[in-house]
Symmetry: C2
Subunit: 285 residues, 2 copies
């Protein structure tokens, strides 16, 4: 395994990918904000197996953080991240500066309605505009055949898939399963923010989802009942404040009242000052 | 010369272009709304000379027309357009339906601030959002090396160039000179709307620009004076109603007070119910 090449400019990154494609090679792409954990590594492994070339981007994108959000505290560890990339035999890492990604006077954005107005979008009104814009940019720089995203950010996956469809972006979006710690908590760079006590309290998210799955298995198909059970479980945890708990259609993200086929249970909960999200696909067994 | 291949679906158009690129061929692209005239033909000839493959799109894009605008009346002549494409030896024509371009539930748009808020953007507030979105889509379907636009739509050229820069779209935007009728009127599909008398009145646009150029040559560098001279000339024409007359910076489109180097004189005038635009680059001689 060779150390991945690190590119700092869009032009150099594009040249590398152009060369790969000109040689008939497929390019797999894993966009990240760094602080790579087992969740990211599972995406990189999958991409490694399915493509001739694996490109990973590491960029803490300022435009997807709202005012008062955690961009300053967001964990950064480029050296550790490069080790992780080496560990999965990535070919190239794209690690641009914010100045490289956003030229002065940049005023073009990719926006989406409907899907971005619910769930996290209702609480972070500019978040998905920032995500869509940077992902569109990264897709244009890298030109991947396939791009890999984690189901942990379920709404993000749906929103990006819709962008790809609506704007005819020539890429296949691959959603990969959530990777969890042994105790059930979904891997997240933001878990780093939690105190020991909060780390324990944070289990209420995955536990609530497990309760919903169990109740559904027992025959409860009314979303209102499942949501009530999840809310009830989370509200027993003192440090927890619910942003939302919802059961939604897997594609439209609109609330479903009775689960006919498949649905997604999604939640966002603040544990102390740390905002965590988690979800589970219901009716998948 | 062979009849150009006509593609109706994004998938088939993309496959054709993928094949060209895989063969190491460059793809030149001329996006149009059809009703092709000598202005379009000049773009196609230029593109023909600079690329291995020439793709022309013909699509009257509904999203760039505002409420009450002329989408219903907009001239359509696919058979004549295909003759024009044959005449310039185009390789492929992309002529999708609106349903093919906009799937039900499409909710992703490319938006731009600043540059889209002035000149035509002030009068057609959703126009450039529609233009940017369809051009982004067409770029993704065709994947051209170079795309050709006419200077007649000067603001459109600047707005698209900025999108290409801001979103890292891998395409070179080529702006081609305005083509005029012998009497000076800029070629436009909308000239078809004019009655004989209006056609004569419409000369006031290019005449006003000629006056500005002449006054500048004589040493008048104050925009206010040039704008006043242009407005004055146009206001002498009874059927003419000015939307705007402006002298702006060639890149920022912001008004300039004194012309230091280069500037653009741009105007939009309604002749009867037909809205016409024209412009001239000042300080170019």
């Amino acid at each position: 395994m060779a150390t991945p090449e690190v590119f700092k400019t869009c032009a150099a990154m594009r040249e590398y990918c152009d060369g790969a494609r000109a040689g008939g090679m497929s390019v797999g792409f894993v966009p990240t904000m760094g602080a790579l954990h087992e969740g990211h590594i599972s995406l990189m492994r999958r991409a490694r197996g399915e493509n001739d070339r694996l490109v990973v981007s590491i960029f803490v994108n300022p435009t997807q953080f709202g005012p008062g959000e955690d961009i300053e505290e967001y964990p950064r560890d480029l050296s550790g991240d490069l080790d992780s990339c080496l560990g999965v035999d990535a070919d190239a890492v794209f690690a641009p500066t914010a100045r490289e990604m956003y030229e002065p006077g940049a005023c073009t954005f990719v926006e989406q309605s409907v899907l971005t107005e619910v769930l996290c979008g209702a609480f972070r009104p500019t978040h998905f505009k920032g995500v869509l814009t940077v992902v569109a940019k990264l897709f244009n720089v890298v030109g991947p055949c396939r791009a890999y995203f984690g189901q942990k950010d379920y709404q993000q996956c749906v929103v990006i898939r819709r962008m790809v469809r609506d704007l005819n972006v020539p890429v296949e979006v691959v959603m990969c399963p959530i990777v969890r710690e042994p105790d059930g908590i979904a891997m997240s760079s933001r878990n780093n923010y939690l105190s020991q006590e909060e780390r324990s309290d944070a289990l209420c998210l995955s536990q609530a989802l497990a309760i919903a799955k169990k109740r559904l298995k027992q025959g409860e198909r009314r979303s209102s009942e499942l949501v009530a059970a999840m809310r009830n479980h989370i509200n027993n945890v003192k440090s927890a404040t619910i942003d939302y708990v919802a059961v939604v259609h897997p594609d439209t993200l609109q609330p479903v009242s009775v689960i006919e086929d498949r649905a997604v249970a999604a939640l966002a909960v603040r544990i102390g000052s740390t905002r965590l999200i988690d979800n589970a696909i219901l009716g998948d067994e």
